[in-house]
């Protein structure tokens, strides 16, 4: 079969500027901006085994980049990452923008899900998208000046000069917060009836974090929902550009703060791809075991709080107690609980402690029966079913169109799990099933997650029985300080040690993407190295971002209690949306 690169070159000829080689070996093509819609439309609809999902859309500010040989001239590069389920492959398209005030056609006409991604690129890079339906800032406040991910934008408060808030500025800021329905694309009237606007959040018990939803209500029926995100934005991507490769790991922990080390996973693997670092088998299995523990922990938080959203009071306490048991194991291994910062480039921070088998075994034995109890209490409760069955439905096609991955995708009946489809870190050697739903409603999303807890237990059990012996960290120069006994003997090692511990490693230039099947969906890190001690661009593609974008679509026509069920069943984390 012809590769996608040659298909595109045959079809579009000059439009395809050139191909680029990347460390992740995804086909990467530079495309003329004028024809990007045609190319994307072709890839989505007309090509054999089409690329149905717009997996990610982001940008790179190229102005300070040193190593770009073989790439066309560009000031800002827009990156489209597509996923084909038929081919089980990613494709990356890049569009060079030369102007200092760049603009490009919006691709919302091809993928509706491009809406938020383009807003994000506009917000953080200042690239304008012509034909975009609602090009407003999305993560930064509407009154923000500058575009933070541009290289010229300061990264620290100390670079910005003292903060001042004169009265005029305060008034301006307050005025910017005034709610005007028109600015949100909301109408005050519907067929002669005056509608009510309800401001749900940023502080509200039912939304799990600092999310604001503007509801347009006809009585209690939802006419429209407009999410306002960005309250939890901490500039995680910008921080990636100033931290060294190693010191960025703790920041990743905090992106999906319920999933702990699962966030380290794609990051360290992407760096390992960039540096061609091989890691020992033992560390691979340790990584899998801890990730699955965190999957259980994260799903337990979801399980309990979801039940609470539906008015059940008890489960959340029981689930948090069980989560405590998971975190006890995590703490014994890593020394920390929610943010263990445990994975390292080239392995993990330390070997497993003595007696870890007993802890894991104890947890598995304790937890297996608990799940049955919870099934009886929640999943088989008739009021719970009445609240969740047939609520917030979307089909597999819609899920793919909107970039939904993880349990939300599998609940529609599509058995796509990246641990099986594109195994990483040795998942191919584990036996586990991919639970799926049928209807893509709130109940099925719950079923899938509950079943995933069981599958995670299976994986952990296999880790327990098959933990390989050997080192827990690679001996690669880039990842691990030289052995102490050698540093005392030859100057080369000593220098290396000095450079490694003071500056950190300089990862050779290149680009790599790596993703994992995280608790909420597919979480990926797209890293660009520029022969430097920190990354040139760190792109974090989180699952919650597209999932939140879908919420308005699946909430229309339902009522406020249903919205709570929908929000709960989508299972997002605000830091995962806003980064």
């Amino acid at each position: 079969m012809k590769g996608i690169t040659s298909i595109l070159k045959d079809k579009f000829g000059e439009v395809i500027i050139c191909a680029q080689k990347t460390k992740d070996e995804f086909p990467t093509l530079w495309v003329h901006g004028d024809h990007i819609i045609d190319v994307l439309h072709f890839l989505k609809n007309d090509v054999d085994l089409p690329f149905k999902m717009l997996y990610d859309l982001t940008a790179i500010d190229e102005q300070a980049r040193k190593f770009r040989e073989g790439q066309p001239k560009s000031r800002f590069t827009i990156v489209y990452q597509l996923l084909s389920f038929g081919r089980n492959a990613f494709l990356r398209l890049k569009v060079p923008l030369i102007s200092d005030e760049p603009s490009l056609q919006s691709v919302t006409s091809v993928w509706l899900s491009a809406n938020w991604y383009e807003r994000e690129v506009y917000d953080l890079f200042g690239v304008k998208f012509t034909g975009h339906p609602d090009l407003r800032r999305i993560l930064m406040p509407q009154s923000w000046e500058g575009h933070p991910l541009q290289k010229c934008h300061p990264a620290r408060a100390t670079e910005m000069g003292p903060f001042q808030l004169p009265d005029s500025k305060q008034e301006r800021e307050q005025e910017a917060l005034r709610f005007k329905p028109e600015e949100w694309g909301l109408d005050k009237n519907l067929g002669g009836d005056e509608l009510m606007f309800l401001n749900l959040g940023p502080q509200h018990p039912g939304i799990h974090g600092i999310l604001r939803l503007v509801l347009q209500l006809d009585g209690e029926n939802i006419v429209n929902v407009v999410p306002d995100i960005g309250f939890h934005h901490r500039g995680a991507e910008k921080m990636g550009e100033r931290q060294s490769w190693h010191t960025y790991i703790p920041y990743t922990d905090r992106v999906d703060y319920l999933a702990g080390v699962m966030n380290n996973f794609p990051y360290v693997m992407a760096v390992e791809k960039l540096g061609d670092i091989e890691i020992p088998d033992r560390s691979k299995v340790i990584r899998i075991m801890l990730s699955e523990l965190f999957r259980i922990s994260s799903h337990l938080v979801w399980y309990g709080t979801f039940a609470q959203d539906l008015g059940m009071m008890t489960p959340v306490f029981l689930m948090f107690n069980d989560r405590e048991k998971v975190l006890e194991v995590v703490e014994a291994i890593c020394g920390a609980r929610m943010h263990p910062n445990w994975f390292r480039i080239g392995g993990v921070a330390q070997d497993l402690p003595q007696g870890w088998e007993k802890l894991i075994r104890g947890f598995i034995d304790y937890f297996k029966n608990k799940l049955k109890e919870y099934d009886k209490m929640i999943m088989r409760n008739s009021i719970f079913k009445a609240r969740t069955v047939g609520i917030g439905v979307y089909s597999t096609e819609e899920a793919i169109e909107w970039g939904i991955t993880g349990p939300g995708l599998r609940a529609t009946g599509f058995d796509w799990d990246f641990r099986k489809a594109q195994p990483y870190s040795g998942y191919e050697q584990f036996e586990f099933d991919i639970p799926t739903g049928k209807n893509g409603d709130c109940y099925d999303r719950s079923l899938v997650r509950v079943e995933e807890i069981r599958q995670s237990l299976r994986i952990i059990e296999q880790c327990l029985h098959n933990m390989p012996e050997g080192p827990y960290k690679s001996d690669n120069r880039l990842t691990t300080p030289p052995r102490k006994k050698n540093t005392m003997k030859d100057i080369e090692t000593l220098i290396n040690h000095f450079v490694q511990t003071t500056w950190g490693p300089a990862i050779p230039h290149g680009e790599a993407f790596c993703g994992v099947e995280a608790t909420k969906g597919h979480n990926g890190y797209y890293l660009i190295a520029d022969n430097s001690t920190s990354s040139y661009r760190t792109r974090i593609r989180t699952p919650s971002f597209p999932h939140m974008q879908l919420v308005p679509l699946i909430s229309k026509g339902y009522s406020i209690p249903d919205l709570m069920a929908i929000l709960g069943s989508v299972d997002y984390v605000l830091a995962d949306i806003d980064r």
Binding site: L198, D309, L310, G311, L318, N381, P561, D562
Partner: protein, 318 residues
Amino acid sequence: MNETLKLTLIAIGILLALLTIAAGLIWVERRMLAAWQDRYGPNRVGPFGILQVVADMIKMFFKEDWIPPFADKSVFILAPAIVMVTILLSFVIIPFAPGILVADINIGLLFFLAMSSLGAYSVVLGGWASNNKYSLLGAVRGAAQMISYEVFMGLSVMGVVIMAGSFNMTDIVLAQKNVWFFIPQFLGFVIFFIAGIAETHRLPFDIPEAESELIAGYHSEYSGMKFGMFFVGEYLGITLISALITTLFFGGWLGFGFLPPVVWFLIKMFAFILFFILLRASLPRPRYDQLMSFGWKILLPLSLLNLLVTGALVLYFT
């Protein structure tokens, strides 16, 4: 003169006892919930944490008595008073034991139904006067829920009235000498119990408050002692419904001899109170429309059927 003094003392005694029970229930509920939820609950203040209630009351009394500037002031103040007054007045008709009751009136049960209808005003007015959208939604839900469930509540006890041949509560208790009414009137008992939960808007029917949706619903804007009145009113409501179930279906003060009548009454009443708390610990909240259709499509026909069958049987046998 002596008679008047005695009645006054009984009334004051009952009032104080009720308020103590309602306040104590706050502690009981928190401890019981905690026991069912694998945690401790309040256990620091006093023995077993029982003085937590006192601490909470002190806190509530000394909190700033804040009225939102956008609220309708007089109605805002009136609303929490209504809930307390109507529920406390309802207790007038409850015979705790022979001789321990405030008013032995021949329209006893009707008086309770009238008072509980008035109680709906506190929710509606409180939510409306708060001038807050969440409160308004809660108030609208509360009004609909309470008014609908009143219908079945009234109908469900009519079987008892037919069998006892009186609205007078003492007569109803005495009519249960041979068999407690929950046996012949089991359907009526179940419906009354469900309607009672809806009436006190406790989980699973706490739809007007619905914390995860409406924050606190109709009393979102209340704080200090005004909130305290809604809060204690809720526990008084539970006590009232439990006392009514005891009186109407479980033979009131009638017992098996070795304990004084009033103790039998209290034992039965507390059993139902605990059941209320257990329900709260175990069930999710249905949606508002599900609650309504459950009421009108299932409970209403059932209670009418119950009324019809009871009436026919009583006519047949007399």
